[in-house]
């Protein structure tokens, strides 16, 4: 079989969730498998990202570059057309992307164009057609077998496919880079237009990839108090997260939400302050290595999955904890 990995890039490099998708592609147990990477956009950063893709994993044999202004924004309509076009000429057995907001938006549309069922949020690969994915907010795991025609389309959960450390000799087996023939790419962009993107300029590391995540819930009571969470995160070199309740209360923007429908995280250390542990929140962080919970309610469900629990008032606990954590220069 041969696998196509659809990747996103930014600033001339492949984005971390896409690197996880590449890692997942190399988990497909097929001795003859080859991995191709598809990236698109325009400008010099596209070509830098293509070289990055060519050297970022030894099992990548081909990098396909679609250079078009129509693909510079992450709109589902032209992207789905592009992947469809590339599949028609490449005949891949698998197409993989990360299960982030880009992959989840684009890949089911691709699957519909190809008349196949996609598989969302894969956390485990048993064999080339059998996959594990969480259902019911992670309260059950479903093993599903794909029995349809090629391609088998997957989105993978990044936290389940860690990116391997770059091997020293990766330069020696650099993949070939070629341009996608876009002469038949006649996507009419008038039906959907990209207007803008507003993102929070955050100095903290990215929530999805941070080694430490510090999360606050509604018990923080205000956006002002939420700065305490930011201060702990800062001193631990971690990212800030929030519960749905804290986002809904307007303490922090939506892109910090951890949970079933927010970010899925699995850091080495997850510290939850004033988080009760609703099912949909646990779905987003239950695979963290070490979980710490601080809550004044001893019966809060979060304590059932915490490695270390402390029952107490946040506004007493946090200042004491800050005293013990050295300030980073």
């Amino acid at each position: 079989g041969s696998t196509l990995v659809v990747v996103e890039h930014e600033g001339g490099v492949i984005k971390p969730p896409s690197l996880s998708a590449l890692a997942a592609a190399t988990c497909l147990p097929d001795p003859d498998s080859s991995v191709s990477v598809l990236l698109a956009g325009s400008g010099s950063s596209l070509h830098q990202a293509a070289s990055h893709a060519a050297s970022c994993h030894p099992s990548i044999s081909k990098v396909l570059v679609a250079d078009s202004d129509k693909l510079k924004n992450p709109l589902a309509e032209p992207w789905a057309k592009l992947v469809h076009l590339v599949q028609q000429s490449g005949g891949y057995s698998h197409i993989i992307a990360a299960a982030n907001s880009f992959g989840k938006n684009v890949m089911p549309r691709v699957a519909a164009l190809l008349d196949v069922s996609p598989i969302t949020d894969v956390t485990g690969i048993s064999d080339s057609n059998t996959f594990v994915r969480p259902i019911y907010a992670g309260n059950a795991l479903c093993t599903v077998r794909y029995t349809g025609a090629n391609p088998c389309i997957l989105t993978i959960r990044s936290t389940s496919f860690p990116v391997p450390q770059k091997s020293v000799d990766s330069k020696s087996n650099e993949a070939s880079i070629s341009q996608v023939d876009l002469s038949t790419f006649d996507e009419d962009l008038s039906k959907s237009r990209y207007i803008s993107q507003t993102s929070q300029d955050n100095e903290r590391p990215d929530l999805g990839n941070a080694r430490v995540v510090v999360t606050g819930g509604r018990a923080l009571k205000s956006a002002e108090n939420f700065k305490l969470i930011e201060e702990i995160a800062k001193r631990l070199g971690g990212a800030v997260g929030a519960t749905r309740a804290a986002v809904d209360a307007g303490f922090v923007p939506n892109d910090l939400q951890v949970g079933q429908t927010g970010k899925i995280v699995a850091p080495e250390l997850y510290m939850a302050f004033g988080v009760s542990g609703a099912i949909q929140h646990l779905a987003g962080m239950r695979d963290s290595k070490v979980i710490v919970a601080v809550n004044n309610d001893a019966d809060a469900p979060i304590f059932q999955i915490a490695d270390y629990g402390l029952v107490g008032d946040l506004f007493e606990v946090i200042p004491k904890l800050l005293e013990k954590l050295p300030e980073k220069k």
């Binding site: 992450p74 589902a76 982030n100 907001s101 989840k104 938006n105 684009v106 890949m107 089911p108 549309r109 691709v110 699957a111 519909a112 069922s117 996609p118 598989i119 969302t120 994915r133 969480p134 259902i135 019911y136 907010a137 992670g138 309260n139 059950a140 795991l141 479903c142 599903v144 077998r145 794909y146 029995t147 349809g148 039906k191 959907s192 237009r193 990209y194 207007i195 803008s196 993107q197 993102s199 929070q200 999805g208 986002v247 809904d248 939506n254 892109d255 079933q260 429908t261 080495e268 250390l269 239950r286 070490v290 979980i291 915490a306 490695d307 270390y308 629990g309 402390l310 904890l321 013990k324």
Partner: protein, 251 residues
Amino acid sequence: MKIMVAIKRVVDYAVKIRVKPDKTGVVTQNVKMSMNPFCEIALEEALRIREAGLASEVVAVSMGSSHSVDTLRTGLAMGADRGIHVEYSASLYPLSVAKILRKLIEIEKPGLLILGKQAIDDDCNQTGQMIAGLLNWPQATFASKVVLDKEKQVATVDREVDDGIETVCLNLPAVITTDLRLNQPRYATLPNIMKAKSKPIKKFTPEELNVEIKSDLEIVQVTEPPKRKAGVIVSSVDELFDKLKHEANVI
């Protein structure tokens, strides 16, 4: 303009999920079932658009066993004008759901199709994108704000994406899938529940719609997630700090 809303009957969000001992699925017998929360948000948005005078009719569609009619009645009690039930008792995957919706859209010709971004049972997050692909309609998934312009026949949609909010503008007809913060769905009042009983629900089967249900997926097994080992309750910040530093070695 007519708006179509697809709604799904699922295990209620507050029910504790139990996996069947024979690993064929989760227990759904004698379990409270409700409308999928994202579908409630989708229906609420359609109703608000109609109430703002930008749409003439809201048609709610549901698929599944005869029990789905209960969910449709809830939708009618919330304010949908009429319902369509496509009866099918075996499991339906998003590709088949999208194909059935395509047929219903050919019949009803709505200007907008609104769906929840995912169902909280299978967590697939696929149907809206797939129907948009089948129809070659533009799509705006994970919507947190929808502004319709009746004159220009466009919808401007804010989408919740990984690093913030993205805004797109779609020509109608279009598909929108809803995220949590789009709106707060209303409750059905008792008079409206009574009124809903007399609202029409049209029935179809996939055969009548000429949709062949083929499945390219097989559930091998459903299991419980691995349990985390029991943790400890510490008594002070000092103890917590000490454990994190010397036992877990994470700070």
